[in-house]
């Protein structure tokens, strides 16, 4: 079986927001939020049928405004948050809300696309993460592997920790922190660390990366000038608790050990424009996905700083049991840090990349022109990692 060709799905609108449905572990499902100022915005639910290499989509209306960020609850499949911009009195404000997908959407997914677009169902609003006093929300983060009761929103220079109560219909701020400093500080991105019992948070503002302890709501580290330009995204290594990847406008992807913040552990400079998104594979943390406004998605294999034993010896006996004999030759040489593949299916800036929550070998990328591309890790590499 040769590598499957990428599956491409086109949205009618421009789009920036992409997430995997975190709580869904069986079906490969991505959520895309559109950006349109003139039309009702939508959330596209993209179901990927791995066996037939086909996409099933269903559309939910999100009439509150254009979506800048979307995030699925780790506990409840149907619950998600969006950050959307709302224009009122010639003022644009980005708000955040928790939504529930209507229970019928799954039945509607089998309808023809035309029908669903003509008659889309609407999301059910659970609650607003009220931010009128704090300003525009950059993103909303769910507690990783939590029970779907706690979210963090980054609004301007505030970190707000919310408790969702009464089946997520009520949100109250349980604690908050504010970044003080010269000038207009504004968080651009953040990530809730899955380690340390989910007590840590990393945020990015301008060129700095900051770590927060959520128990005390205080800063625990700060990497000043982590990037030469703006930091666009962060991700925690799912398997190594102190490792963090960041990307930014200096076209670089940097890997940090937050215990030694003076120098990055490693630095990649493969993109030819700003890197907007960086994602570790949830299971195999040597696999790293980056999306950039040079319209490329790059899949890298960072073995040397992964939790995988670096350059481990492949057991010959196991290999000889393997039916695919041609894998043997490749398997002998240890993997090196390398670019696995550069995906050039996009023709506009790629603002979001996301691994599937269900299949660790599958990922989606979304470019501004509304093109969603689903790709797989090359089969040869997959076997080498697995075997």
């Amino acid at each position: 079986m040769e590598d499957d060709a990428p599956v491409i799905y086109g949205l009618e609108f421009q789009a920036r927001a992409l997430t995997a449905q975190t709580a869904e572990t069986d079906a490969i499902r991505f959520l895309v939020g559109t950006q349109s100022l003139k039309f009702d915005n939508q959330i596209h639910i993209i179901d990927f049928d791995d066996e037939n290499n086909m996409i099933n989509k269903s559309v939910l209306l999100h009439d509150a405004g254009e979506i800048w960020h979307i995030s699925g609850s780790p506990a409840e499949k149907a619950v998600l948050t969006t950050c959307y911009s709302k224009t009122s009195e010639s003022r644009v404000l980005t708000c955040a809300a928790v939504w529930r997908m209507p229970p019928e959407w799954e039945s509607g997914s089998h309808e023809s696309p035309d029908d669903s677009s003509n008659n889309p169902q609407t999301l059910e609003l659970l609650c607003h993460l009220d931010n009128t006093t704090h300003g525009s929300v950059a993103c909303v983060l769910w507690e990783p592997m939590g029970d779907g009761k706690r979210v963090i929103s980054l609004a301007e220079n505030h970190v707000l920790l919310w408790d969702l109560q009464e089946s997520s219909t009520k949100a109250t701020i349980s604690s908050s922190a504010t970044l003080e400093g010269k000038g207009q500080l504004k968080f651009t991105a953040g990530k809730w660390s899955p380690h340390h019992n989910s007590t840590q948070l990393a945020t990015a503002n301008d060129t700095a990366i900051r770590g927060w302890d959520l128990r005390s709501m205080s800063q625990i580290y700060c990497i000043e000038s982590a990037h030469g330009q703006l930091v666009r995204d962060l991700d925690f290594n799912p398997n190594k608790q102190y490792y963090l990847a960041s990307c930014g406008d200096d076209c670089k992807v940097k890997f940090w050990d937050v215990r030694h913040i003076n120098e990055p552990v490693k630095c990649l400079e493969e993109h030819s424009h700003w890197v907007w998104s960086v994602r570790y594979n949830h299971s195999h943390d040597q696999l790293l996905l980056t999306g950039s406004s040079d319209s490329r998605v790059i899949l890298s294999n960072m073995v040397s700083i992964s939790s995988e034993p670096f350059g481990h010896l492949v057991d010959d006996d196991e290999l000889s049991d393997n039916e695919e004999s041609q894998q043997e030759d490749k398997g002998k040489e240890p993997l090196q840090d390398s670019i696995i593949a550069t995906y050039e299916e996009h023709e506009d800036s790629v603002y979001a990349v996301e691994w599937s929550a269900a299949d660790p070998w599958l990922f989606a990328s979304l470019s501004y022109d509304g093109r969603l591309v689903i790709n797989r890790v090359p089969r040869a590499l997959k076997y080498r990692i697995l075997l």
């Binding site: 224009t87 010639s90 023709e347 022109d369």
Partner: protein, 823 residues
């Protein structure tokens, strides 16, 4: 009866015949004539013994006639007669003899009797004499013994006198400093004194002598120790001391320790000098001793201390080495020579030979020389290390040469010594160190030059490189130099410096330098030292430091002025094209580098330089692009695009962008060629643009603003993208102006685009963007290689702004043009 055949002649034979016949007759010859008898058995032979007269007669009668018988008878008678007479004569003769003999015997009898009497008398006399003689000797015996004894006593007395006088004599000798006499005298007496030492008087003498000799030895030692004495004196001293049974080893030690103290004084002198110079060195009062004329001066009169102006303080190294040579080395040589004279080369005599002195002495000498030389070397090395200033290399080389040359003397004196080879090692080390110093000096120089260039760049530029200042060069402060001038002066400075360094280093291999024919200086010094260690390292350093400019500046937001990056890039490129090969050829020629060992090939260096140049230029593009990007980004992010007023002007920031781009264009144009650009669709920017915008306007914008067809824009834009090439924003550029400018503009416009996409626009916000983009279009197309690129990016910006617009009603194209033209 005679034989008929033999006549009786009176000749000798005839007479003998007569005798023999007589003998026969008398029967005297019974045995002598036996043979004849055998012959004459014939009875007829008348002369034979067996003659038978009867037979004979019968025969005669039978055979002869009468006449014959008659004749024969007469002959016979005749013969008988002669025989009778002969017989008579003989008898007579013999009778006379007998008579006289009897007389004689009678006389003898009488004489002997007389003689016997006389002999008796004599024997009596002799007996008397013997008796007398015995009596005399008996009387004289006593006296003789006495005389012998006396003479023995006399000699003994003389000897004793000598012995008794010995102390006095020795004292006198001591007074007169006639040590040799004293020693020889003492040597003569020593055995006797030793032998009779049990006798108190002799004991006394011996003790006296001992004391005196001790004193003498003391004096000798004193003299020996004093050292003021001449070598001959010394040798005499040593010889005497050796004869005095002074142990040779001790003498050697003493001699050496004595010499050591003197040499150490020399060394201390050197040390003091070393310290003094160190003190004055750190004192900073760098007195210029060497003429600076040979050294190129610093590129500007900045306060940077040029390492090439050597801060010589105190004594210079040549003086130091000179002093070392004249004082230490020469006295060391003297010591060695005299030592050898004294202990090693002296003729061995007697008991001294058995003690194997030369071997022991030689060993001691080697140890001695080695330790002292080691100290000397360490001093010299310290001094050499202090020689940090790389100004006048000839001084150092001459000093080293002298140092090395003087050590050759030791080689001659002391063939097995390791000292000269150590010396050579020091020279080699010094040379190596020197190369390192030169390298670091070159590096410092390079940095300083760059600092100067930086300052020159930072100085307010009235005309941005446009009007070339009069060829005053860098040194004239009044005129700010332009970029090309800076480049040429920088490059010339570096090259000249390198050349002068090469010339300085070349001194090491000059023909008249003693160590230049050592294998190190012929081979390794040239290839590994100069070529690799100096020239190649320096070139690599330039590339390396250039790359560092890219890396360090990248994160810290461009601490390096962009113009410097550009300048360095051009410098590296120049190096790649010509300078490197020139420098290396020059080096190879000057040093006749034989490539025994692998050396860095020119191509590798060129590649490195080119890589550095590329990196620098890329970085330049990035930095400049980021500067402009930053302006654009701030301008987009800080504005409230929803509530903006109707555009009346092009925003100032756009003018600024164009201005900056223009100045970058000029800057790059000073150093890089124009480069190729794609053919313009028209020579007039105005018309091109108007055609472009009006035509696009219809196709692109008009449909996109109708809410019914949201897909169209995407479709069109996608189609457009499908056919246009992908644009790599931060991509490597070529070494020409157009490529550089294209890179910068790409970065700027892409930033503009991304920023626009993050904002929401009101009606007038969109219109303002339209105006700005048109303005950019009017001015930026001329800088890039492919104007379609600018068109495309600006289209994207306006398109994105339109998408992000709440109330997309675009401005009239004509109005835009009017606003833009107004300024």
């Amino acid at each position: 009866m005679s034989s008929a055949t033999t006549p009786p002649d009176s000749d000798p034979t005839g007479r003998r015949r007569v005798h023999s016949m007589l003998k026969l007759y008398y029967g005297l010859n019974e045995e002598g004539t036996a043979a004849e008898q055998a012959e004459s058995l014939d009875p007829c032979d008348i002369n034979g013994p067996h003659f038978d007269p009867e037979v004979y007669l019968n025969k005669l009668r039978k055979e002869c006639s009468l006449g014959e018988l008659m004749d024969h008878e007469s002959c016979m008678v005749k013969q008988i007669r002669s025989l009778d007479s002969d017989m008579q004569t003989l008898v007579y003769e013999n009778y006379n003899k007998f008579i006289s003999a009897t007389d004689t015997i009678r006389k003898m009898k009488n004489d002997f009797k007389k003689m016997e009497d006389e002999m008796d008398c004599l024997s009596a006399n002799m007996a008397a004499i013997t008796e007398f003689s015995a009596r005399i000797s008996g009387t004289l015996q006593d006296q003789h013994a006495q005389i012998t004894k006396l003479s023995g006593v006399h000699t003994l007395l003389r000897k004793l006198q000598f012995l008794f006088e010995l102390p006095a004599r020795l004292n006198k000798c001591l007074e007169l400093q006639a040590y040799a006499q004293a020693v020889s005298a003492h040597r003569r007496a020593r055995c006797v004194l030793q032998q009779y030492s049990h006798m108190p008087s002799f004991r006394g003498i011996q003790d006296d002598c001992h004391v005196i000799m001790e004193q003498l030895a003391q004096q000798l030692r004193q003299k020996f120790r004093d050292g003021g004495s001449s070598a001959k004196d010394l040798s005499e001293c040593v010889e005497l001391l050796l004869q005095l049974d002074e142990p040779a080893e001790e003498l050697c030690d003493k001699f050496l320790s004595h010499a050591q103290s003197r040499l150490e004084a020399d060394l201390q002198g050197l040390e003091v000098e070393l310290k003094d110079s160190a003190v004055t060195d750190t004192g900073g009062g760098s007195v210029q001793k060497t003429s600076p004329g040979s050294n190129p001066v610093s590129p500007s009169s900045s306060s940077v201390i040029n390492p090439f102006l050597s801060p010589t303080a105190g004594t210079d190294i040549l003086e130091f080495i000179d002093r070392g040579c004249n004082e230490f080395v020469s006295s060391l040589c003297l010591v060695i020579a005299s030592y050898q004279e004294l202990f090693i080369n002296r003729p061995q005599e007697g008991e001294l030979a058995s003690k194997n002195i030369p071997e022991m002495a030689n060993g001691k000498l080697h140890v001695f020389v080695d330790t002292l030389a080691a100290r000397y070397f360490s001093l010299v090395e310290q001094r050499i290390q202090e020689e940090k200033g790389v100004g006048d290399n000839s001084l150092l080389v001459r000093a080293l040469d002298r140092f090395h040359r003087r050590l050759q003397a030791i080689t001659k004196l002391l063939p097995g010594s390791a000292v000269p080879s150590h010396g050579t090692e020091i020279v080699v080390r010094a040379a190596r160190e020197r190369i390192k110093q030169y390298l670091s000096a070159l590096q410092t120089f390079y940095h300083d030059s760059l600092t100067d260039v930086r300052q020159a760049l930072a100085a307010p530029r009235l005309a941005v490189g446009g009007a070339s200042t009069s060829g005053g060069g860098v040194t004239s402060k009044d005129a700010t130099p332009s970029l090309p001038e800076l480049l040429t002066s920088l490059s010339n400075f570096i090259l000249n410096q390198l050349k002068s360094v090469l010339a300085s280093v070349h001194l090491f291999t000059a023909k008249d330098i003693t160590f230049s024919n050592k294998p190190y200086f012929k081979g390794e010094f040239c290839s590994q030292g100069v070529r690799e260690g100096l020239v190649v390292s320096f070139i690599k350093f330039i590339c390396q430091s250039s790359r560092q400019y890219c890396e360090s500046a990248g994160d810290r937001g461009g601490s390096t002025p962009p113009a410097l990056l550009l300048l360095l890039s051009r410098l590296c490129l120049d190096y790649e094209t010509s300078t490197i090969s020139y420098i290396l050829t020059l080096t190879d020629e000057q040093f006749l580098v034989q490539h025994h060992t692998p050396v860095t090939p020119v191509t590798a260096l060129c590649a490195e330089a080119r890589e550095a140049a590329q990196k620098l230029l890329n970085h330049y593009v990035k930095v400049q692009g980021l500067i402009i990007s930053q302006m654009l980004r701030k301008s987009v992010e800080t504005r409230d695009w929803v509530n903006t007023i109707e555009p009346r002007n092009v925003r100032a920031v756009m003018k600024r962008v164009v201005e900056d781009t223009t100045s970058i264009d000029v800057q790059v144009g000073l150093l890089y060629e124009e480069g190729v650009r794609k053919a313009h669709s028209s020579d007039s920017s105005k018309r091109t643009f108007s055609v472009y915008s009006s035509s696009r306007q219809q196709i692109r914008y008009a449909p996109s603003y109708t809410p019914s067809a949201p897909m169209d824009t995407n479709l069109l834009s996608n189609i457009h993208k499908l056919f246009s090439e992908r644009i790599d924003i931060f991509s490597p550029v070529e070494f020409n102006k157009v490529s550089v400018l294209t890179g910068i503009i790409k970065i700027s416009l892409k930033t503009f685009l991304e920023c626009v996409r993050l904002r929401t626009f009101g009606r007038y916000g969109l219109q303002q963007i339209q105006v700005d983009c048109h303005y950019l279009q009017m001015y930026l197309w001329r800088f890039v290689s492919d104007e379609n690129l600018v068109h495309f990016l600006l289209d994207e910006i306006v398109g994105s702004a339109a998408h992000r617009c709440l109330d997309p009603s675009p401005m009239e194209q004509s109005v835009i043009e009017v606003i833009c033209e107004r300024g």
